[in-house]
Structures are given as C-alpha cells and as structure tokens.
C-alpha cells in the first residue's frame, strides 16, 4: 500500500460521507463543514482495514448511466408487477433460476444481487459458495433463458465494464 492510499483511503467514500453528513445535519456553517471534512476523512480511514475487497469503480460515467438504466427499469417493472398482482395468480409461473456469473469479485456480485432484488419481479436468494452462480427467485418466468440473457446483458455486462474486471 503506497503512502497516498494509506493517508486517504478512498476519495469516493470521502465525497459520499461529506454529502451525507451535510444533508443529514442540513447546516452549512463553517464549523459543521469542518466537522464533515474531518469525519469524511476519518471514517474511511478506520474502515479501510476491514475492507477486504479492493474493487474500485474504473468508469464513473458508465456507473451514472447504470443507475439511470436501473431507475428506469424499476419504474417500468413496478408497473408490470402491479399488473401481475392484480391479475390472476394462476397465470403466473414463479421459478428459481440459476444465473451463471462472469463476475468474480465480492463487491460487483453484491451490486448485481442488489440490482436484481431492487428491480421488481426478481429477488436474489443465494449465491453459490464458489461464486460461480447466483440463484434468483422470479415472480413470473415465461422464458427462463430469455430472463437469464436479459440480466446478463443489461446488468452484469455494464458492471463488468464499470469495475474493469
């Protein structure tokens, strides 16, 4: 670990904590800003020791685009799930599906699993011990292969690019 990293472990966490602290306290006084800077520097420094995963966002632009796509998908699939709830439950074909993973690092897999859980209609249930595949429960699976392909191309491929792995 070089000296720059050990003194300032994560610029992204620094910015995030700074913004969250200011929003939480809702105050822009000099004293509060100073406190925010100190906390935002000190907390990542403390937790960097327990952080085993070293995955870093390599392409922030793609990450922003990913969040936009995710928000759009959440809105669209919310409407789809609302319709499925109101329609007949017997027409639904629930299922457990197995998604083979190309990602290997814990952080990108966590993000993929969270994305799948956030988009309505699918919940990540379990990940295999060797991180080879993710098990997902879906509310309605008319076509298993199509759903797997969609998740892989829409979420996993961009995550792979973002983390450059």
């Amino acid at each position: 670990m070089d000296i720059k990293h050990s003194l300032w472990p994560s610029p992204f966490n620094f910015a995030l904590l700074l913004v969250v602290w200011i929003l939480l306290t809702n105050s822009f006084s000099v004293g509060n800003l100073l406190l925010a800077v100190v906390l935002a520097w000190f907390i990542p420094f403390l937790v960097s020791r327990i952080q085993s995963d070293t995955s870093r966002v390599k392409k922030p632009g793609k990450a922003v685009r990913y969040v936009m796509v995710l928000l759009y998908d959440i809105i669209v699939s919310n409407i789809v799930v609302a319709r499925q709830i109101l329609g007949s439950a017997h027409k639904l074909q629930p299922g457990f599906i197995e998604i083979p993973l190309d990602l290997r690092e814990p952080l990108p897999i966590t993000l993929l699993a969270s994305t799948i859980s956030l988009t309505p209609g699918t919940v990540s249930t379990e990940v295999s011990k060797d991180r080879q595949c993710l098990f997902v429960h879906a509310l309605n699976v008319p076509d298993e292969a199509a759903l797997i392909a969609q998740i892989k191309s829409r979420y996993e491929a961009p995550l792979k690019e973002i983390f450059g792995c």
């Binding site: 929003l23 959440i74 919310n78 709830i85 629930p94 990540s124 379990e126 429960h137 699976v141």
Partner: protein, 116 residues
C-alpha cells in the same frame, strides 16, 4: 390550486395506489416467495412517488429546496434489497415450500447447499 399543489397531489395518489397494490399482493399471492415480491417491490415506486411529492411540497413552501428526501431514497435503496435477500434466504433454509408448479423446484436442495 397551483401547479405545485397539483403535482404534490398527483404524486401522493400514484404513491398511495402502488403501496396499496403492494399490500394487496402480500395478502393475495399464494406462496412466501411470491408474496415477498409484492411489498418489497411494488412499494419502491410507491415510496419513491411519495418522496417526490414531499420534495415538491417542501420546496415550494418557501423554505428553499428540500433535498433531504434524496437521503431517504438512498437509505431505502441500500436496505430494501438486503431485507428481501435475507428474507428469501431464511425462507429457503427453514424449508418454506414454494408453490408446486414453481420452475426448477427440484433444484432447491442444491441451492440450499450453495452448489453451482
């Protein structure tokens, strides 16, 4: 009634409808795993709409832009998937049986053992 009030009302209504559908799904769907989808999901848009309504209402009240709601959104988006994941995982391991026609129901043992 001005535009801000109208927008607040519209977003509150949309939010209310989605939350209601989510709760109804919890009551109606047949097995645990399917039920899990209704409240955790149909409600993300419901809560989102209510937060948008809150942003509009407080921003036009005259106290300046209200952005605290973004924090609530952030926390919900961080915690909701974890809750859903832990619930479904727990259900799987206490052998809560899914509906009989569930796809790949024969693979449940394999999933419990976390084999790829």
């Amino acid at each position: 009634m001005d535009i801000a009030q109208l927008a607040t009302v519209v977003f509150l209504l949309i939010g209310g409808v989605f939350l209601l559908i989510g709760s109804f799904g919890l009551f109606k769907l047949p097995d645990f795993y399917m039920r899990l989808h209704a409240p955790t999901k149909a409600s993300t848009l419901g809560i989102g709409s209510i937060l948008v309504a809150s942003i509009i209402f407080y921003s036009f009240k005259g106290d300046g832009l209200s952005i605290k709601e973004f924090l609530i959104t952030l926390f919900i988006f961080l915690t909701a998937p974890i809750t859903a994941h832990m619930l479904s995982k727990a259900a799987l391991h206490v052998r809560c049986e899914p509906r009989a026609d569930t796809l790949n129901i024969d693979k449940l043992e394999k999933i419990r053992n976390r084999e790829s």
